[in-house]
C-alpha cells in the first residue's frame, strides 16, 4: 500500500506514550488523518506543529485515553461475563460429548475431594470442641520406668482434692443399650461417657439448650441426669424441641435429659452421652454398695489462669507422691506428667499430620487429574478455536478479554461440576462413613468449612483449568490462523503442554492403581494370615447388663455344661479381635507393644493355643490369684533369646499395674494374633483373670464341628439366669472377616479412583493423539509420497503419542514407591510396598489402555492417501 506514514519521531513518541497497545493503531490512524488534513489546509509546518502538540497531549493525559469502559466497573463486567457465559453455553452445546465427559470427570474429582475433606474435617480439623486445648492437658501417671494414661478412681479423688494449680477432672467410657422410646426394643450398644462434675467447665463444653453437668450432679442420688450430644439429638431424638426433661433408658437406669451439647462438642472419642460418674452403678444396676475405687479413669485438667504447665505439674506430682498406695518397693515414686497432646483420647499430633498429609495428597491427586483433563479438553478446543481467537483479537479484543472468556468457560464447567459433585458427596457420605468405620458419634454432615473448601477448590480448579489454555495461547500468532490451517507445525508449545498434562494423568493413574493393587494383594494376604488359632466355631458371649450379678458367669458355666455341642468354654477379659489392653515398652528399641490379656485356666485349650514350654495356670491358681504369667513365643524369644523363660520373673521394662507383685513366667504358648489383624502383633502376656473381675469378662465358647443351634440354645439358657441380661453372641470368625475386609474396602476405594483415573487419562490421550495426528496430516502425506510405508508412519506416530505415557508411568511408579513406604505400610498386612506384581499389573493396564487410545486415530492417519493430501493443500 502506498499509505503515507506519520513522521517517524511522532510514531516513536506515540509508542512510548501510555496509550494502550490495543488503541495505538487507531490513534495513529486518527493522527495521520488530522495531519493530512492540516497539511492540505495550512501547510506542512502547521501540520507538524499540531501533530507534536497532539502527541504531547496524549502523553499528558496518560491513563484516560481510549480505554474500554474500566474493567472495574462491576456492571460492565457483569454484562461481559453474561455474554461470555452465553457464548460458552452455545459452544458447549455444539460438543455435548466432550462437555459431558469433562463435567463427569470434574464432578467425580470434586466429589471425592469433598468427601475426603469432610472426613478429615470431622476426624482431625474440627477437633472435639475443647476450648483452648493447650490449657487442658492430660494428666499422666509416671514412674521412672513407665507411663500410664489411666488412674484409679480413688487416686483421682485425691488428686482433685490436693490440686491447687489446676482444675482436675476425670472421665471413663462404657457402653450400654440406650432406648429413647418404649418401643425401642433392641439397639446397638451405645458408648457412654461418665464424667466428673467439672467436666464441662474444664473442657469449655457448652449446651444448645438446657444445662450441662456440674459438681452438684455427683451428689444427686435420686435421679440420673444425662447430657446428649448434638449428633445423638439429631439422629436418635429427631431434634425434639421439648427434649429437656425427657426420660430415656440408659442400660437399667431411667436417665433424664438435662441438656443438648453444642454441635461440634464430642469429647472424648465422639462421645454421644455424658453422665456423672456416680450414675455408673445405676446404669449397670450393681447397687450402691459397689465401690468405684478401682475403676480406671482418664484424668485431665484445666490450668488455672496465670499458672504454667511446669508449675501445675510440680504441684500435682507432690500430691501424687503422697498417694496412700501409689508407691511400692519395686516402683519409684509416682509423679505426674502433663501432656497437652495426650489426655481425652486426643489423636497424637504426629498421627494427625500423617492423616492430613495422606488425605490432602489424595485430594490433590484427584483434583490434579480432573483439572488436567479439563485443561486437555479446553486446550484441544482452544487449538481448534485458534481461528476464532485470532478473529477476536483482530476485532480489538485484548488478551485479558480472551483469557476471561476461557476462564469463564472453565469456571462455568467447574460450578456445574461442583454442584453435581456436592450432591454426589452428600449422598455417598453415609456410605463412606460405613466404609471407613466412622464412630456413631462422628458428625459427617457438611459444615461451613466444607462449603468453603468446595468453593475454593472449585475456584482454583476452574481458574487453573482455564488458565492452562490461556497460557498456551500466550504470544500467539494471531494472523496465521486467520489465513487457514496447517501453517503451524513450527510451534511445538501446545503439544508439549498437553504432553505434560497427559504425563501427569498417566503418573497419577499409575500411582493410584499400584496402591489399589497393593491393597488388593493385602486383602488376599489378610485372608490367609495364620492367626495362630482356629476361629471357626469360636464364639464370644457378652452378657450386657448381666455382669452386675457377680455370680452370673459361675451359674452360666453350669447352665452351659448341659448344652450339647459346646466343646469348651472359658472366661477372658478381652475376646479375640476385641481390641485389648496394650502395654507400651518405651525403653526398648525398637519400641514394642505387648498385648496383655487376663484369662481363666482353660482359655488356651478353648481357643487352641499350643503350649510350647512349661505349663498353663490351673483353675485353683486362678481362683487364688497366683502371680503367674504365660508369654508368647515371640516375646520369649525377644527377651530370653535361646533360653527358657520358665521360672523367670517378667522383666521390669514391661509395665504392669503398680503395686502388684511381678508375676513369674510358668509357660510359653504359641504365637497368636488376637488384638488387631493388621498389627500382626504376636507379643503377648497372659495372666489369670481375677475372680472379682469376672463380671467384666466375656465368655468364649467353642462349638463342636457339625453342631447346630448351639448359640441359640446357649443364649436362651443364659437369659434364663437373668431375664434382663442382654446376651449377645458374636462369631470370632466373623470378627476376623471384618478385620480382614478393611484392606478390601481401601482396595475398592483406591481401585475405583484408579479406574476413573485411567478412563480420564485415556480420554485425554485420545484427544491429544487425534489432534496432533490431524495437524500432521500433511507431513504424513509428504512422507508417504517420499516412499514411507504405512507401518513406518504407524510406528512414528505411536511412539510420539506414547512417549508422555511412558514417562508418566515411570514418574507414577516412583511416587507409588514413596507413598507405599511412607503412609500405608501399616495397612498392607505384610505385602511389601515394592511388590513387583502390583507394579507390573499397573503398567500393563495403563499401557494397554493407552495403546487402545492411540491406535484408532493413528491408524486413520497412517492410512492417508498422499495424493489426496497434497492435492488438497
Amino acid at each position: 500500500m502506498t499509505e503515507p506514514h506519520l513522521p517517524l519521531v511522532a510514531r516513536w513518541l506515540l509508542r512510548l506514550s501510555s496509550v494502550p497497545r490495543e488503541a495505538r493503531a487507531e490513534v495513529q490512524a486518527d493522527l495521520r488523518e488530522l495531519f493530512e488534513a492540516r497539511r492540505r489546509d495550512r501547510g506542512a509546518v502547521h501540520a507538524h506543529w499540531r501533530l507534536y502538540h497532539d502527541v504531547g497531549s496524549l502523553w499528558l493525559r496518560s491513563g484516560q485515553i481510549m480505554q474500554t469502559p474500566s474493567p472495574l466497573s462491576v456492571l460492565a463486567l457483569f454484562r461481559d461475563v453474561r455474554g461470555d457465559l452465553r457464548y460458552a453455553v452455545r459452544l458447549f452445546a455444539r460438543q455435548p460429548g466432550i462437555l459431558l465427559l469433562t463435567i463427569v470427570g470434574l464432578s467425580l474429582g470434586l466429589a471425592i475431594a469433598t468427601a475426603a475433606f469432610t472426613i478429615m474435617n470431622a476426624a482431625v480439623l474440627r477437633g472435639e470442641g475443647v476450648v483452648d486445648p493447650d490449657r487442658a492437658p492430660g494428666v499422666l501417671k509416671t514412674t521412672d520406668r513407665s507411663t500410664w494414661s489411666v488412674w484409679q478412681y480413688d487416686e483421682f479423688l485425691h488428686l482433685r482434692e490436693g490440686s491447687t494449680r489446676m482444675q482436675v477432672e476425670a472421665v471413663f467410657t462404657d457402653g450400654a443399650v440406650v432406648r429413647t422410646t418404649a418401643a425401642d426394643v433392641d439397639g446397638p450398644v451405645t458408648p457412654l461417657t461418665f464424667v466428673s462434675g467439672g467436666f464441662f467447665s474444664a473442657t469449655g463444653g457448652r449446651v444448645v439448650t438446657g444445662r450441662s453437668l456440674d459438681r452438684a450432679d455427683e451428689r444427686r442420688a435420686d435421679s440420673v441426669p444425662v447430657v446428649v450430644s448434638f449428633v445423638f439429638w439429631t439422629a436418635r431424638l429427631n431434634r425434639d424441641p421439648q427434649v429437656i426433661g425427657r426420660t430415656i433408658r440408659v442400660g437399667r437406669a431411667s436417665a433424664t435429659i438435662v441438656g443438648v451439647a453444642d454441635r461440634g462438642f464430642s469429647v472424648p472419642h465422639n462421645a454421644l452421652l455424658w453422665m456423672p460418674m456416680p450414675a455408673h452403678p445405676a446404669v449397670y444396676n450393681s447397687g450402691p454398695v459397689q465401690t468405684m475405687d478401682d475403676r480406671p479413669v482418664e484424668v485431665f485438667g484445666r490450668l488455672l489462669p496465670q499458672v504454667s504447665l511446669a508449675e501445675a505439674e510440680a504441684q500435682l506430682s507432690a500430691v501424687a507422691g503422697a498417694l496412700p498406695r501409689g508407691a511400692t518397693e519395686t516402683e519409684s515414686k509416682l509423679r505426674v506428667k502433663l501432656d497437652t497432646h495426650g489426655g481425652l483420647g486426643r489423636v497424637s499430633s504426629a498421627m494427625t499430620i500423617a492423616i492430613t498429609v495422606f488425605v490432602f495428597a489424595v485430594i490433590g491427586l484427584v483434583l490434579l487429574l480432573a483439572c488436567a483433563n479439563v485443561a486437555t479438553v479446553l486446550i484441544s478446543s482452544a487449538i481448534t478455536r485458534e481461528r476464532e481467537m485470532g478473529v477476536r483479537a483482530a476485532l480489538g479484543a485484548s488478551r485479558w478479554r480472551i483469557v476471561r472468556q476461557l476462564v469463564t468457560e472453565s469456571l462455568a464447567l467447574g460450578v456445574v461440576a461442583a454442584m453435581i459433585g456436592f450432591v454426589f458427596a452428600y449422598w455417598a457420605m453415609p456410605l463412606i462413613g460405613v466404609m471407613i468405620e466412622a464412630p456413631a458419634g462422628a458428625d459427617l454432615a457438611p459444615d461451613l468449612h466444607v462449603y468453603l473448601f468446595l468453593g475454593v477448590v472449585t475456584l482454583v480448579s476452574g481458574v487453573g483449568a482455564g488458565l492452562a489454555p490461556a497460557w498456551h495461547g500466550r504470544g500467539a500468532d494471531l494472523v496465521t490462523p486467520l489465513k487457514g490451517e496447517g501453517a503451524r507445525q513450527d510451534r511445538l508449545a501446545p503439544g508439549r503442554l498437553r504432553s505434560v498434562l497427559v504425563m501427569t494423568q498417566a503418573a497419577v493413574s499409575v500411582l493410584l492403581i499400584v496402591v489399589a493393587m497393593l491393597f488388593m494383594r493385602a486383602t488376599f494376604r489378610a485372608a490367609t494370615i495364620d492367626v495362630g488359632f482356629d476361629p471357626a466355631g469360636l464364639y464370644s458371649v457378652s452378657a450386657g447388663l448381666g455382669d452386675s450379678t457377680t455370680d452370673f458367669w459361675t451359674r452360666g458355666f453350669s447352665e452351659l455344661q448341659s448344652v450339647p455341642g459346646i466343646a469348651a468354654a472359658t472366661l477372658v477379659e478381652v475376646p479375640p479381635f476385641g481390641g485389648g489392653i496394650k502395654l507400651s515398652i518405651t525403653r526398648d528399641e525398637p519400641h514394642r507393644v505387648v498385648n496383655l490379656n487376663r484369662t481363666s485356666a482353660n482359655y488356651f485349650a478353648t481357643i487352641g493355643l499350643r503350649l510350647v514350654a512349661g505349663r498353663t495356670y490351673t483353675r485353683d491358681e486362678v481362683a487364688a490369684r497366683a502371680p503367674f504369667a504365660l508369654v508368647s513365643q515371640s516375646l520369649a524369644r525377644a527377651y530370653w533369646h535361646d533360653q527358657s523363660p520358665v521360672g523367670q520373673m517378667l522383666p521390669p521394662e514391661i509395665p504392669l499395674t503398680p503395686g502388684s507383685a511381678r508375676p513369674m513366667i510358668i509357660g510359653v504358648v504359641a504365637d497368636a494374633i488376637t488384638a488387631r489383624l493388621h498389627e500382626r502383633n504376636a507379643y503377648a502376656i497372659y495372666e489369670p483373670l481375677d475372680p472379682a473381675n469376672e463380671k467384666f469378662g466375656r465368655l468364649l465358647i467353642r462349638v463342636a464341628p457339625g453342631a447346630t443351634g448351639v448359640t441359640e440354645l446357649a443364649s436362651q439358657r443364659l437369659r434364663s439366669i437373668d431375664p434382663q441380661a442382654e446376651v449377645k453372641i458374636t462369631s470370632i470368625a466373623a470378627s476376623l472377616q471384618q478385620e480382614a475386609s478393611r484392606p478390601r474396602m481401601l482396595a475398592m476405594l483406591t481401585g475405583t479412583i484408579g479406574l476413573i483415573a485411567i478412563v480420564l487419562c485415556v480420554i485425554g490421550l485420545y484427544g491429544l493423539t487425534a489432534s496432533v495426528v490431524g495437524q500432521r496430516t500433511r507431513e504424513m502425506g509428504v512422507r508417504v509420497a517420499m516412499g514411507a510405508e504405512p507401518r513406518d508412519l504407524l510406528r512414528l506416530l505411536m511412539w510420539d503419542s506414547l512417549r508422555p505415557v511412558v514417562i508418566g508411568l515411570s514418574l507414577g511408579a516412583g511416587a507409588a514407591l514413596l507413598a507405599g513406604r511412607v503412609v500405608v505400610a501399616a495397612m498392607f498386612f505384610g505385602v511389601s510396598p515394592h511388590d513387583p506384581v502390583a507394579f507390573v499389573a499397573a503398567a500393563v493396564i495403563l499401557i494397554t489402555a493407552a495403546l487402545l487410545a492411540v491406535v484408532v486415530p493413528t491408524r486413520r492417519a497412517a492410512a492417508v492417501d498422499a495424493a489426496d493430501v497434497l492435492r488438497w493443500s
Binding site: 490513534v27 485515553i65 480489538g396
Partner: protein, 108 residues
C-alpha cells in the same frame, strides 16, 4: 453523583457527537470542536473527554467496519445515549432559565 455532571469541554464534545450525526469518530469531532470554539484543541483532550463521557454513560462506542481511506483499519465510532441527550438538554434549559432571568433583570 459524578455521572450526572457534565463539564464544559465534555458538553462541547457530546454536542459535537450529536451534531455530526451518529457513528462519528474522534477526528471529525476534534475538527468540529476546534471550528466552533475557534481555539486549538488537542486530539488527546478529545479522547479523554470521550472516555469520560463513555464512563458516565452519555455516549456509547463500537468498533466500526474497516474503511479503505484509513488503510483498512477499523475505528471507534460514537453515538450519544438517551441519557447523554437528556443531560445536555437539562443543562441547556438551566442556562436558558438563567439567561432569561438576566434579561428580565436588565429590563427592570
Amino acid at each position: 453523583m459524578k455521572g450526572e455532571r457534565l463539564g464544559e469541554f465534555e458538553e462541547f464534545t457530546l454536542l459535537a457527537v450529536r451534531a455530526l450525526g451518529d457513528h462519528t469518530y474522534a477526528v471529525p469531532i476534534q475538527q468540529y470542536v476546534e471550528k466552533v470554539t475557534a481555539r486549538p484543541i488537542s486530539i488527546g483532550s478529545i479522547y479523554a473527554a470521550l472516555t469520560r463521557l463513555e464512563e458516565k454513560g452519555f455516549v456509547r462506542s463500537t468498533m466500526s467496519e474497516a474503511v479503505a481511506q484509513r488503510g483498512g483499519k477499523s475505528k471507534r465510532v460514537y453515538i450519544v445515549t438517551p441519557s447523554g441527550l437528556r443531560t445536555a438538554r437539562d443543562l441547556h434549559r438551566v442556562r436558558e432559565r438563567i439567561w432569561n432571568a438576566i434579561t428580565e433583570g436588565g429590563r427592570s
